[in-house]
């Protein structure tokens, strides 16, 4: 009995692997919020200040990358039907390397220390190399790739581009010779990070999870098979135009027009997703859906503001459009989507592993809590409202940094503390019930 019952877990890593990514990530969110409180308006006024770069990477690497890599190690077997090779080893290596690397990068920026930056480049380089290699082996082994797998492959390519550029930029800061012009490649780096990696992964995964979990119609077939490809090729063409514009300034406006065209593709995805969600047959509104609605709605709104502002520069002269877009993408799109996902995945994994063990040992005396007993709606909804308030104040702080960056920081800190607290409660409950199970099994064997 024991062997067979554990089969369904065989492909998935032990729960401690994803959990450590998920429990560390909110700590980086808290650190980012504390930076906003400590440094105040500085972090929102110049794109290039070391504080801004440190804050950006606390969120993109510390929160987004940790959650997304941890989640992928877990859900690849489910979404793609294939296990990540050596998943325990990969998790054991990637988690500390990304954590230490992110801390090193942030320390390097803030202290202006090349030693820290060198450490960061080595650790992040190694961590991402291992992760990308393992995920690539799994994704390219899939024999009958569906649209989700195709989207995930493209997202992984985009991550590789992002990381290679990030490493070159970081190596430049660390005093190692790299050959490229920082300002130019920074924009390429962050575009591949946000529009490439984050958005392509979102799109690929949505094709599968939105219809299934919310019981909606499927995405239109042409969107599923063409959109991710077109976006990836579109980003590659934009990159060439953008880089070529260094020597041929007349190309600069073309690269801008082209980027705007690509944004239409993302807007189409968001609009279709919202339409599908309106047609969903599963009627109850849960907190994950509330987070997803915010995240998906922010995509068209922020892209439209940015596109209009770029194409008609006189209309919005006083606003720093790039900063506004960056804040929207990180705080308004990526963070809520992942926050919502965590509230499904962490309670589910806890239940799944425990119930599986219960069946394997036939130990029915211990009651396994269901997902909502692991995480009551009350707690997750409370965090949602705090997050929403934090988002609004953070967006407003772009317009009034002197007044609002610190209050935004306080609210964000609270939101990440509550998120971390909620996830930790689930993990502790898991440990408690797991202990009860072990005890009951031991008793059973004695008796």
């Amino acid at each position: 009995m024991l062997n067979t019952a554990n089969l369904s877990l065989e492909q998935a890593p032990p729960i401690s692997i994803p959990l450590r990514f998920f429990l560390t990530a909110p700590l980086f969110g808290i650190a980012a919020a504390l930076m906003m409180i400590w440094y105040g308006p500085e972090v929102m006024t110049s794109r290039w200040s070391p504080q801004t770069l440190a804050l950006t990477h606390l969120l993109t690497l510390g929160f987004l990358a940790l959650v997304m890599t941890g989640a992928l190690l877990q859900i690849l077997p489910v979404l793609a039907g294939i296990a990540v090779p050596r998943v325990v080893l990969v998790g054991n290596l990637v988690h500390p390397l990304l954590t230490v690397g992110t801390l090193g990068l942030v320390a390097g920026f803030l202290l202006g220390s090349t030693a820290w930056l060198k450490l960061a480049v080595v650790a992040l380089g190694a961590g991402f190399a291992i992760y990308i290699l393992a995920a690539a082996v799994a994704l390219w082994r899939v024999e009958l790739p569906n649209n989700t797998v195709a989207g995930m492959r493209m997202a992984l390519l985009a991550l590789a581009v992002t990381v290679l550029l990030g490493l070159s930029l970081g190596a430049g800061f660390a005093g190692w010779d790299t050959l490229i012009y920082p300002a130019l490649y920074t924009n390429v780096h962050l575009t591949w990070g946000m529009l490439g990696w984050v958005m392509l992964l979102l799109i690929g995964v949505s094709f599968q999870v939105v219809p299934m979990f919310q019981v909606t119609p499927e995405y239109p077939k042409w969107i599923r098979s063409w959109l991710p490809r077109l976006l990836l090729v579109g980003l590659a063409i934009w990159t060439m135009l953008y880089v070529a514009a260094v020597n041929k300034p007349e190309l600069a406006s073309w690269s801008l027009v082209w980027l705007t065209i690509i944004l239409v593709g993302y807007i189409a995805f968001a609009v279709i997703t919202l339409r599908l969600q309106q047609q969903r047959r599963r009627k109850i509104t849960d907190v994950t859906l509330m987070f997803w609605r915010i995240g998906i709605t922010t995509i068209p709104i922020s892209f439209l503001i940015w596109g209009i502002g770029r194409l008609f520069p006189t209309a919005m002269e006083q606003v720093d459009l790039d900063l506004l877009l960056g804040v929207c993408m990180i705080f308004g799109v990526a963070i809520p989507l992942l926050n919502g996902m965590l509230y499904k995945i962490v309670p589910f994994l806890s239940w799944f592993h425990l119930q599986n063990r219960q069946l394997a040992t036939m130990c029915m005396t211990v009651q396994i809590p269901n997902m909502k007993q692991f995480l009551p709606d009350r707690s997750s909804k409370r965090q949602f409202w705090v997050y929403l308030l934090a988002l609004v104040v953070t967006l407003l702080s772009v317009f009034a940094p002197a007044l609002l960056v610190r209050p935004a920081g306080v609210l964000l800190a609270l939101s990440f503390v509550l998120l971390g607290h909620n996830l930790l409660q689930v993990a502790l409950r898991y440990r408690e019930v797991s202990g009860e199970l072990s005890e009951a099994v031991a008793d059973g064997q004695e008796g």
């Binding site: 369904s8 489910v78 039907g81 599968q208 019981v215 599963r282 109850i284 119930q355 599986n356 269901n370």
Partner: protein
């Protein structure tokens, strides 16, 4: 070439709709409708499991020689879901809304990840293994 995949995925979607209706009624504390809809959903699921455990899995195991592979994993997950069904049936009986909704949320997660594995991996494997014989297997399943 995707006869089994299409047929069985279609049945998954049918069960999803029944699930959603029952959940909505219970969420409104409409127990008359909710009880009937839960029962309908429950029997649709049991029927689906019987088609798999009674026909599809054994036929596939015989044809492919894989008895401890994916089909075994799917059976284990059926057991996990069956335990949730029986807990949900109790919640319906006691008209315990919160218990039902916590269980239905949990069921939805395991059910969908289970469906994904089947639709991504197992059903396409059966289609490839059976080839032209798929129609015959479907007929046998329809007789369940």
């Amino acid at each position: 070439m995707a006869r089994i995949t299409d047929t069985m995925a279609g049945d998954h979607r049918r069960c999803d709709l029944l699930f959603a209706e029952a959940e909505a009624s219970v969420s409104d504390s409409n127990w008359d409708a909710g009880t009937a809809q839960f029962n309908e959903f429950h029997s649709a699921m049991e029927h689906h499991f019987s088609m798999e455990e009674g026909v599809l899995f054994p036929t596939f195991e015989e044809a492919s020689g894989m008895t401890m592979g994916p089909t075994q994993m799917m059976r284990v997950e059926h057991t996990q879901m069956r335990q949730l069904f029986s807990d949900m049936a109790q919640a319906v009986e006691k008209q315990d809304r919160d218990a039902y909704l916590g269980l239905s949320e949990t069921l939805m997660m395991i059910m969908q990840q289970h469906n994904m594995k089947e639709e991504q991996m197992l059903y396409p494997m059966t289609d490839r293994t059976f080839g032209g014989g798929a129609d015959e297997v479907i007929e046998k399943m329809n007789a369940v």
